[in-house]
């Protein structure tokens, strides 16, 4: 245990009655129709267990989704049902105390990537990630989110992006990449425009691209140039991610997503294009309008959908013979199962590579890679994350593919680690990187 994690454990153990009351209040605020119906409907049938990569990888019954639901249900029953309040032993109702808080943290943060695969398997159709997030929100209100995840949220709130990249560094990176592209492809208009008012699209990216994967930014720029797109980056807010979704902190989540809306307004763009980031898509496309209680005045699209549109409209042409290696596709949970972007990436890959094979199961039934739900940032649970990722590693190995495409940077990081851990011997790429390689550049 590190000093920080000891301090964190102490903080959890020393939760005062006042703090527990704050948590209970926050929990009560989460109990809307969906939550109340769900927590009244779970019949503990256990059929969800084998849908969860944590359970499949470990066989430990405390990792099954029903157990996580039961932990939250215990508090719901104790404080929000008559039987649970009067006969707790009958219903499994439990008081919200320090012991339970510890169990919630370990289970809801440490054993769940909020991938929603269990929801598809659930007999009664419970929205289990929502139940898990309600638990996480309660913990967030108590200020007890695992510190590594909290620091990611804090960095985004304080600096405008989750890696705390200063504006000067962001602008320098864009300038450098622009210069590289100009040297390679010729001078003329900027390849990576920044703060261009009235551009059709504002492109938001994962800060990891800026810091570690600049090639994926260049790939997107090449595609936009080939399609003759009108687009821009924002000098202020470029971060597509939103870890408030995972920490359960709605205030932070609203603030972070609101910044992209601010940039859209300032630059008078019409479409917010989200880089390859699964949870960034779910957060900005589906959750942000609910957090803000407002339908956005602009369209929100994933770059995956956009590339498919370009291909369909003939704005870009791809040569699949440029990419002969066998390629498989990982479906990021928040983009596919929770996002609805399912066929676009397949359509693109069929045009971009010569040998594309599906994993099984795929699409909305895909297995989570293990990197979602903020797991990558919560290093204290890294061993569990890698163990749970074995299911995805087995899927990849079974395809015989040499390249795994993942339209999500969190997934890419996790798949990269799984590649080393399970000796898969594959390359992991974004969709834009594959497309940029297959692009037929018109004279």
């Amino acid at each position: 245990m590190t000093k920080n994690s000891d301090e964190y454990a102490d903080r959890v153990d020393q939760s005062t009655d006042q703090k527990l009351a704050v948590g209970l209040r926050a929990f009560r605020e989460r109990i809307d129709y969906t939550m109340a119906a769900s927590l009244n409907a779970c019949i503990h049938c256990g059929l969800c267990a084998e849908s969860c990569h944590y359970y499949l990888a470990t066989g430990d019954p405390i990792t099954q989704p029903a157990y996580k639901v039961a932990l939250v249900q215990a508090v719901f029953k104790r404080y929000h049902t008559m039987t649970g309040g009067t006969l707790p032993a009958l219903t499994g109702a439990r008081a919200f105390d320090t012991t339970l808080v510890r169990e919630w943290i370990d289970s809801l943060f440490g054993n769940c990537s909020m991938c929603a695969r269990c929801t598809l398997s659930c007999t009664v159709g419970l929205h289990i990630p929502r139940i898990v997030r309600a638990g996480r929100s309660t913990i967030a209100a108590m200020g007890l989110v695992p510190p590594e995840l909290q620091s990611t949220v804090d960095a985004a709130v304080q600096t405008g992006n989750n890696m705390g990249i200063p504006k000067a560094e962001w602008l320098e990176t864009v300038e450098w990449l622009d210069e590289e592209l100009r040297n390679e492809l010729g001078q003329g208009e900027s390849y990576l425009p920044i703060d261009q008012e009235q551009a059709e699209m504002l492109y938001a990216v994962n800060p990891r691209e800026v810091k570690f994967f600049p090639l994926s930014l260049m790939a997107a720029a090449r595609i936009f140039r080939a399609a003759g797109a009108s687009w821009t980056f924002s000098a202020d807010y470029f971060d597509v991610t939103n870890y408030g979704l995972f920490s359960g902190d709605d205030v932070a989540a609203r603030l972070i997503s609101g910044r992209l809306a601010e940039s859209m307004k300032r630059l008078k763009c019409r479409t917010l294009v989200l880089g390859e980031c699964g949870h960034g898509y779910a957060a900005n496309r589906w959750e942000a309008p609910e957090w803000h209680r407002q339908t956005p005045e602009f369209a929100v699209k994933s770059i995956v959908e956009l590339i498919a549109d370009y291909l369909k409209e003939g704005r870009i042409t791809l040569d699949p013979s440029k990419f002969a290696k066998r390629v498989t596709l990982h479906d990021p949970c928040n983009l596919v199962r929770m996002g609805g972007v399912i066929e676009e990436q397949r359509f693109v890959l069929r045009h971009a590579v010569a040998d594309f094979v599906e994993m099984f199961p795929n699409r909305e039934n895909n297995y989570c890679c293990g990197g979602g739900g903020g797991q990558l940032s919560m290093t204290r649970y890294a061993k569990r994350r890698l163990a749970a990722g074995r299911i995805k590693a087995d899927q990849i190995r079974a395809t015989g593919a040499k390249v795994v495409v993942a339209p999500c940077h969190n997934c890419i990081d996790q798949l990269g680690e799984l590649n080393k851990e399970y000796h898969l011997g594959v390359e992991v790429k974004t969709l834009a990187e594959i497309v940029a390689e297959a692009l037929v550049v018109r004279p």
């Binding site: 119906a37 019954p61 006969l87 009958l90 996002g339 399912i342």
Partner: protein
């Protein structure tokens, strides 16, 4: 008024209590407010809800059903037996004569339901995976339903035990709102929520595939 008449009235009152309590719970749940939906949808909520209640429950669509088909079949038989026992109860209270063939069918369905209930109870007792997610309510609810089925089956053979059948029924009905059996109404809420969520997001029933047909 004889004992049977009193028990019949008691059973009807217990049923009214159960229905009233469930209705109250539904109203209370409804008052908590439906989730707003400001995001522009990709697919159809209506199609999603239809999927959730029909195709989405089938083994072809649902992995958990494919992996646990004995439990799936057992669950269907258990619930069908329960419905049959309630139909039989209604006919007994109304003192309606049942055709021998219909009675035989009801008996078979109830026996299958009872056997399934016992197997599901054993499954919950035997497997650690099940025990760890079970509360006393899970066992009480199962035992009460099994007793209800057993007494219904017995009553078809020995009509003189109608009083026992009615007492067990009352106990079951009084328990319905207290524990997990309340899923009999909340099931419809959660499946609707499921259908709305995945329908709206264009995930199910696979509208994305239809949408992308033009790309193929």
């Amino acid at each position: 008024m004889n004992l049977i008449s009193i028990l019949k009235i008691g059973t009807v009152l217990a049923a009214l209590y159960a229905l009233g309590a469930l209705a109250r719970m539904l109203v209370q749940t409804g008052r908590r407010g439906l989730e707003p939906t400001f995001a522009v949808g990709l697919g159809s909520e209506t199609k999603g809800i239809a999927y959730a209640f029909f195709k989405g429950m089938l083994p072809s669509e649902k992995e958990s059903v494919r992996k646990h088909w004995p439990t799936f079949v057992g669950g269907i038989l258990y619930h069908t037996g329960l419905f049959a026992a309630f139909i039989y109860l209604g006919l007994q209270i109304a003192q309606t004569e049942i055709w021998p063939t219909a009675l035989l069918l009801i008996q078979i369905i109830m026996v299958l339901g009872f056997v399934s209930g016992v197997v599901l109870l054993l499954k919950r007792l035997v497997f650690r995976k099940m025990r760890i997610i079970s509360t006393m309510d899970d066992f009480v609810a199962n035992v009460l339903v099994n007793l209800f089925l057993a007494s219904a089956i017995s009553n078809t053979i020995w009509p003189t035990i109608l009083s026992v059948y009615l007492v067990v029924t009352m106990l079951l009905l009084l328990y319905v709102p207290m524990g997990k059996i309340r899923h009999c109404v909340f099931f419809f809420c959660t499946r609707t929520i499921f259908g709305r969520l995945f329908g709206r997001r264009g995930v199910l029933p696979h509208p994305a595939r239809e949408k992308m047909a033009g790309f193929r």
